[in-house]
Amino acid sequence: MTTLNIDHVSRWFGNVVAVNDITMTISPGVTGLLGPNGAGKSTLINMMGGFLAPSTGSVTLDGQAVWRNEQIYRQIGIVPEREAMYDFLTGREFVVANAELHGLGKKAAQKALATVEMEYAQDRKISTYSKGMRQRVKMASALVHEPSLLLLDEPFNGMDPRQRMQLMDLLRRMGDEGRTVLFSSHILEEVEQLASHIEVIVAGRHAASGDFRRIRRLMTDRPHRYLVRSSDDRALAAALIADPSTSGIEVDLQEGALRIQAVDFGRFTALLPRVARDHGIRLLAVSPSDESLESVFSYLVAA
């Protein structure tokens, strides 16, 4: 079981602060590093992978420093975002070379190629590969030594939906096996589908951490939207709008429901059932209408 510790890490380039005082712990299982483009995800992953020194703070893997410690790569597998990968080799030659660099042989390479289901194209030159095939061969090269920590920078970029699903299955499997898997993405549905744990980075800062429902709950100051059906929508609307925890209510006649915008999450969740009971209104359905990562994310980006 491998744990990656990022302790008060900052990184600046000249006057630009790319990563600003981030502290997080990446534990076994699949973690998604979510943030818009330019948020500092790649900078952070480069520091996690030992390719960039933190300006301040430290990155350690089970207590061992990652920077300037090449022995750490016995435990780390890296899937970089950049495309370049010795295009003049065949997929098999490339993965075999990666295995050899770990002191392993052809058997390990073949196993890794089988894991990513690339055996059928292993003897073609990498230069002829599609983006998804490249991604899978990169993945194989990162898996040859069965690392306990796998770092992937935007692994789903340019993959078609089928390839994406395959890779997600593979990463899920890795996480279930007890490996520590961290991938970055700016695409919300990817993170939502795959990661059990999410770290959100916005403008170089650590904006939130946890599973995404928890992240959402943490941000009680942002407006929450609910879809509520009741035995008397108008009476319920009138009673709710009197309280400052509610900032807007729309009576959706087509849906036969209320669309409520709450500004005080904690207070509203206590208020709703009480008001309903006091007014003798039956609540038929209460559902958060924006419980998607998209809304959390757009809020974070706007903030």
Binding site: F51, L52, R82, S141, D153
Partner: protein
């Protein structure tokens, strides 16, 4: 210290692409010039020394050194594929040392062998001229490879800087300013070549001891420094 897998990747990168064509062009040109000179002027020791000294050692060897030395690592750092070497439990100096061996071997193969052939064509190794310049090309290959490998490690514009050093510093300043000649791989290797011929056809501005010490010093320091640079190489990524 030497990793065969790193070597294999480096050889294939160096010799597989267009670079091999460029590497081959200058030796072919040297042979063509030698054949033409031999056909028009016959055997002449002075002319042989002029062609080998003026073209082979002063121009061809450093340019091939630039292509092989920077090409052994520069493109990988440029396109980011070096990450596959760096993300391995291999000591950085091992990577540099292996790449240096490959760069030296390639520079020697593409410069010393054609130099010897050209010398044989020009005057049949009269007065040991072919052997002397071949030895000069061999020792210069080592220093150039180390120097330009370091350049390839520290700058993205290694080829430009390398060519500026080889052509502007060594060729141009070398012929204008006496001091520049003392600090030139070409002159150091000529000092070694002078020792081989013993005559006045091959001369150098530096003594054998100075030349040898400087050749070794430049090679060792450049290689050590390249290893240090690689240890702290920052992969900037796309941001």
């Amino acid at each position: 210290m030497y990793d065969p897998t790193v070597a294999r990747l480096t050889y294939r990168g160096l010799l597989g692409r267009r670079r091999a064509l460029i590497l081959g062009a200058l030796p072919v040109l040297l042979i063509v010039i030698s054949v033409a000179v031999r056909a028009f002027t016959g055997t002449d020791d002075q002319v042989a020394a002029d062609v080998l000294g003026g073209f082979a050692l002063a121009t061809m060897v450093p340019i091939i050194g630039v292509i092989a030395g920077t090409g052994a690592i520069g493109p990988e750092i440029d396109d980011g594929s070096v990450v596959y070497l760096l993300a391995k439990p291999i000591k950085r100096p091992t990577i540099i040392f292996t790449k240096l061996i490959v760069a030296i071997a390639v520079t020697m193969a593409f410069s010393a062998i054609p130099t010897f052939l050209a010398g044989m064509i020009l005057n049949g190794n009269g007065q040991q001229i072919a052997v002397a310049y071949t030895v000069a090309a061999l020792v210069a290959s080592i220093a150039y490879a180390a120097l330009f490998l370091l350049l390839g490690t520290i700058t993205r514009h290694a080829v430009v800087f390398g060519l500026v050093y080889a052509l502007v510093w060594e060729a141009l300043f070398g012929s204008l300013v006496a001091g520049a000649r003392t600090l030139s791989v070409q002159q150091w290797s000529l000092a070694v070549a002078h020792e081989v011929t013993g005559g006045d056809l091959v001369t150098s501005d530096v003594g054998l001891a100075t030349g040898t010490v400087l050749l070794i010093a430049v090679t060792v320091v450049a290689t050590w420094f390249a290893g240090q640079k690689l240890r702290t190489l920052t992969l900037a990524g796309e941001e």
